[in-house]
């Protein structure tokens, strides 16, 4: 039974990674850049909810909605101000370093505003959960909600991309930006929309992450952000179902290695997996082979 509990906890953590990884993978696939600050958008979302719910004792729903709105605006603004000017720069490192700058900026801004001390975050999910087999197997409410939310997000996102005009435009820009422009697709708008969706997802992930692990600091988003990137690579970067699978696999591995091997070394194990994936199949589980254009 305890193994089952760990497995479910792994699925839950994996669902959070998956939601973050979706944002990473969409931005990577469509804007062709690694948004290093993506993890910090999560942290911003958490602080928004924390401020509204705990400090101003506001309504939880309002807090979550505000977090989604503010993170979306943050994503759009960041793209416009910091990333767009560097599109087409001579060195691909330019936008990557700028993204690191943004990440660093957000972390240190949060440090100045909220301080380095760890805030205890009260869960946005009040439901205590279910209990099976006379209490031998208890599943927390936040676990169930997290898994459910991630499934809903995946389905909605897939429908959006395959059934709407905007979604099709995203696929086209991901495939060939030049050709998409010639087909009359507004590339700038499509990329902005991608950042908006990715950042909104980061806010949702933030709410779930801090509900499951209720300690909030300026660095809350950094590690989950990096791990979600590992998940995206594991699943095949650019692939939406891949991000989901990668996230779940990574979450389960992390929880199980924390439980059965060593909690201090679990991060090392997670990154060991990244190295193995890069060695064996750099395109990930669902990624397609990238043909270099010569």
């Amino acid at each position: 039974m305890s193994f089952l509990t760990y497995l479910i906890n792994g699925l839950s953590l994996g669902s959070i990674y998956a939601i973050i990884a979706l944002g990473y993978t969409m931005v990577y696939g469509i804007a062709k850049m690694l948004n290093f600050a993506h993890g910090d958008f999560i942290m911003v979302g958490c602080y928004v909810i924390f401020t509204i719910c705990s400090t101003l004792s506001g309504n939880t729903i309002v807090g979550i909605i505000m977090a989604i709105i503010l993170c979306t605006l943050l994503g759009i603004t960041t793209e416009k101000v910091a990333y767009r000017p560097l599109r087409g720069a001579a060195s691909p490192l330019a936008v990557l370093i700028t993204a690191i700058g943004v990440s660093y900026f957000l972390e240190n801004l949060a440090l100045l505003i909220f301080g380095a001390d760890i805030k205890s975050f009260s869960s946005v999910i009040k439901w205590s959960g279910l209990s099976f087999a006379d209490g031998a197997l208890k599943i927390q409410g936040v676990t169930i909600v997290t898994i459910a939310v991630s499934v809903v997000i995946l389905i909605v996102l897939q429908l959006f991309i395959h059934k709407t005009k905007e979604g099709q435009a995203m696929l086209a820009v991901a495939e060939d930006r030049g050709a998409a422009t010639l087909m009359g697709i507004n590339v700038n708008r499509t990329i902005t929309l991608t950042f908006a969706i990715g950042s909104a997802l980061a806010a949702v992930a933030g709410a779930l992450l801090c509900s499951a692990y209720p300690s909030l600091s300026p660095y809350t988003g950094a590690m989950p952000g990096i791990k979600a990137f590992v998940a995206a690579v594991l699943g095949g970067i650019g692939s939406i179902p891949g991000a989901m699978i990668g996230g779940l696999v990574l979450g389960i591995i992390e929880i199980l290695s924390k439980t059965y091997i060593s909690s201090q070394l679990s991060d090392a194990i997670v990154f060991g997996i990244l190295v193995i994936v890069l060695l064996v199949k750099p395109t990930g589980i669902l990624g397609k082979k990238i043909q270099i254009k010569v």
Binding site: A90, Q291, I292, V294
Partner: protein, 252 residues
């Protein structure tokens, strides 16, 4: 024995046979043209010859040696150098260093000698310098030796790319649309450059080109590709007079 022997080369991307049953024989010293409408698979042939893509079927032999499965680096060492349709220079390096990179494998000293500037470093660097200058002179780029490659005018960038390819001392030179984007004057100058390369280095050249004037002016033999397949192969005059070829170019 021909310098380049290609037999029944094929590659498919997904369901599309980009190059299908392609064969060609190029004799030493020949200037051979590869032509065909857009999307006929010409650049794909170049990418197959240089190991960027691996063929699904077929053989490539250079000077009797099978290079079908070799990677790009090994193929260059075996003696094939190329230029690119969209110019690919080392844009942040000066003109002379672009050529020197091409000389890397021919004039060697160990990494340690390089880092400490001892041993063969001085003498070999001197050789590299002289050799690079010799090449730049041939291509009339010696006046721009210290200019960054990205700051060269377009026509000279094309020339530099050829000079860099020649620095690797190839047996076969592949030119991918060298006249693309050039005005008639520049094209004429390019034709002179190609003639010069043949004369100075006794070079065998395979070139992809759209400019019919250039092709008919300098190529001795032609292969016409259409939808990945060889449409016609032979002496330039014959090929260009062929009704099938005219149809492929001008449509019905």
């Amino acid at each position: 024995m021909a310098l380049l022997e290609v037999n029944n080369l094929s590659i498919a991307f997904g369901g599309l046979r980009a190059v299908d049953d392609f064969s060609i024989n190029i004799e030493k010293g020949e200037l051979y043209g590869l032509i065909g409408p857009n999307g006929a698979g010409k650049t794909t042939v170049f990418n197959l010859l240089t190991g960027v893509y691996k063929p699904n079927e077929g053989r490539i032999k250079l000077d009797g040696v099978d290079i079908t499965r070799d990677n790009t680096i090994k193929i260059n060492h075996a003696g094939i150098a190329r230029t690119f349709q969209n110019i690919r220079l080392f844009h942040q390096l000066p003109v002379i260093d672009n050529v020197k990179v091409g000389l890397t494998e021919r004039f060697r000293y160990s990494a340690l000698e390089g880092i400490l500037h001892v041993g063969r470093y001085k003498s070999v660097e001197k050789q590299i310098d002289e050799e690079a200058m010799k090449l730049l002179k041939v291509f009339d780029l010696d006046g721009e030796r210290d200019v960054l490659a990205s700051n060269l005018p377009y026509g000279k960038q094309r020339k530099l790319e050829i000079a860099r390819a020649m620095a690797t001392s190839p047996k076969l030179l592949l030119l991918d649309e060298p006249a693309a984007g050039m005005n008639p004057n520049e094209t004429a100058e390019l034709m002179d450059t190609i003639a010069l390369v043949r004369k100075e280095f006794d070079m065998t050249i395979l070139l992809i080109e759209h400019d019919m004037k250039l092709v008919s002016g300098i190529c001795e033999k032609l292969t016409v590709l259409n939808f990945g397949r060889v449409l016609k192969q032979g002496e330039t005059k014959e090929v260009l007079a062929d009704p099938e070829v005219i149809k492929a170019y001008l449509g019905e």
